[in-house]
């Protein structure tokens, strides 16, 4: 969302890996296999199969592709992207750790967890290659399940147009001259079927001559009603490191997001249920039901996953400062935003 892209700041020579390979096409399925360091990736008709030295994991291909789509689109995001309870990535902002079992209590206790650190561009390149090769014609991993085809079966075409959407990153505010544009029918953003009742009116803006670039407003709800993707927060307005990242949500957040900083959710419409678990162990800690107007903070030591039946509008609010993860990791900043 805020799509962090800061570089690592250690200044020391990096030992992070960059060895990735695109392997041969499987004669039976038509899909390619891939290698990133010690991790190997294969897909068949139903599953993604992941191997690493001393272990292996299997995921339904739809769940894997939906999670991979977000990890790619979000630039590895803030903190931890758990594809499920075993596999995922940790963003170090310039480098990224790929892990198996790192945030799984049983794997950790048994010493069966495994992780390798990569240079972000190298891992991103192979992730994009996997996503492109394994997403077949008609399947859109960014879409709600009722709005896309199926991912199953042998290799049949591709859907690069769906997986290469450009995320919105407004520099000041959507709609300002030269900034991220509004969404319109003409631009290819029709109103979503679940938001047909959302008013499409525009605010009345009367700018005096010379102030056309600063006297500005737009219909945020109409803008969100035209989002063609789900669970993809994008920056709409910026105050320093304060980023308003609204998004439309339907079905399940495809990852369990492990926070490296506090993250706020303001429910703009309808409702989302959040399952909150301990970041390290995965043990349940709370369920947060947010209805329209509710605002809540996700602490920096949890992971969360949201469920939204009716497509809803959510304002994700981030502090994008690159200093925060280290402050929290060192115990110099609290894991909760407010103490009272």
């Amino acid at each position: 969302m805020a799509m962090p892209e800061q570089s690592s700041t250690s200044g020391e020579a990096s030992s992070a890996r960059s060895d990735t390979r695109v392997l041969e096409i499987d004669n039976a399925t038509g899909f390619r296999a891939f290698q990133a360091g010690g991790f190997g990736f294969k897909r068949d008709a139903y599953f993604a199969r992941i191997e690493w030295p001393g272990g292996a994991h299997i995921m339904p291909i739809d769940a894997f592709l939906r999670a991979l789509m977000r990890d790619v689109a979000w630039g590895f995001f803030y903190g931890v992207v758990n594809f499920d309870g075993v596999f995922g990535t940790i963003n170090h902002y310039g480098e990224v750790t790929m892990f198996a079992g790192r945030f799984n209590d049983a794997y950790r206790a048994a010493g069966r967890d495994h992780e390798e650190r990569f240079q972000s561009p190298a891992l991103m390149q192979v992730f994009k290659a996997i996503l492109s090769d394994w997403t077949i014609e008609g399947y859109d991993p960014f879409a709600a399940p009722m709005e896309t085809g199926l991912p199953w079966g042998q290799k049949q075409g591709s859907n690069d147009a769906a997986i290469e959407r450009i995320r919105v990153t407004a520099r000041r505010m959507v709609g300002l001259p030269g900034d991220a544009p509004l969404r319109t029918d003409a631009a290819g953003y029709p109103v979503n079927r679940q938001f047909e009742d959302v008013a499409q009116d525009a605010p009345l803006v009367e700018a005096e001559p010379g102030f056309e670039n600063e006297v500005s407003a737009f219909n945020l709800f109409a803008y969100l009603s035209r989002s063609d993707v789900t669970w993809n927060p994008s920056i709409c307005s910026v105050v320093g490191d304060s980023l308003f990242c609204p998004t439309s949500e339907e079905f399940i957040l495809p990852v369990e997001h492990g926070n490296d900083r506090c993250e706020w959710f303001l429910q703009l419409s309808d409702e989302i249920l959040w399952e909150v678990r301990d970041k390290e162990t995965g043990r349940p800690r709370a369920r947060v039901l947010q209805r329209a107007g509710d605002i809540a903070c996700m602490p920096a030591d949890i992971r969360h996953q949201g469920y939204s039946t009716k497509r809803s509008m959510l304002l994700v609010w981030e502090n994008g400062s690159p200093k925060i993860p280290e402050l929290i990791a060192k115990g110099e900043a609290p894991v909760v935003s407010v103490s009272f």
């Binding site: 000041r172 505010m173 300002l176 679940q194 938001f195 009742d197 959302v198 008013a199 009116d201 525009a202 605010p203 009345l204 803006v205 009367e206 700018a207 005096e208 102030f211 600063e214 006297v215 500005s216 407003a217 737009f218 945020l220 709800f221 709409c236 307005s237 910026v238 105050v239 320093g240 490191d241 304060s242 308003f244 900083r261 706020w264 303001l266 703009l268 419409s269 309808d270 043990r283 349940p284 800690r285 709370a286 369920r287 947060v288 039901l289 209805r291 329209a292 107007g293 509710d294 605002i295 809540a296 903070c297 602490p299 609010w317 502090n319 400062s321 925060i324 935003s337 407010v338 009272f340």
Partner: protein
Amino acid sequence: MVVTNFGSLKDYRKGGVQIINDDPRNYVFSNLFEVASNAEPYARIAIGKNFEYVVEVARAEGLSPWYSCAHDEFVVAMDGQVEVHLVKLADPHLLVDPNSSGAHRLADEPPEGRKMGRIVLGRGHMALLPAGSAYRFMSEAPSAIIFQTIQGPETIEKWAEICQTSAA
């Protein structure tokens, strides 16, 4: 027929935090319509805080004081209709320290400067409140607005009063 529920000052239904093994206060859970309903007009109450940054809510009703800020702010109308008046301050540094944060309340009379324009926000509309300008609001009926800003002298914190504090 699809019905999208946005909530309002008169019609909102709070969710809540169901605790399994945690402190509900960690989630700083509140509802903006409830907070605005119980607030004085234009009292800017923090409902979100992340280091120096805040999200404030206010009940817009009648004419507000004039405010100014050394940095950009944004306002979103969450319920009702709110008019925004903007003035380019002749000397913004005279009124607000350029290194300060958050909104500053100005004197009640119109500030010296050029008129920038007028915006009328309906539900879901977002507007820029540009750095160095002065702004005020007018709303004939009670409305709810939120601000994206930095904590400042107008920010009111009363977390224990507005947030869920016990396990559901």
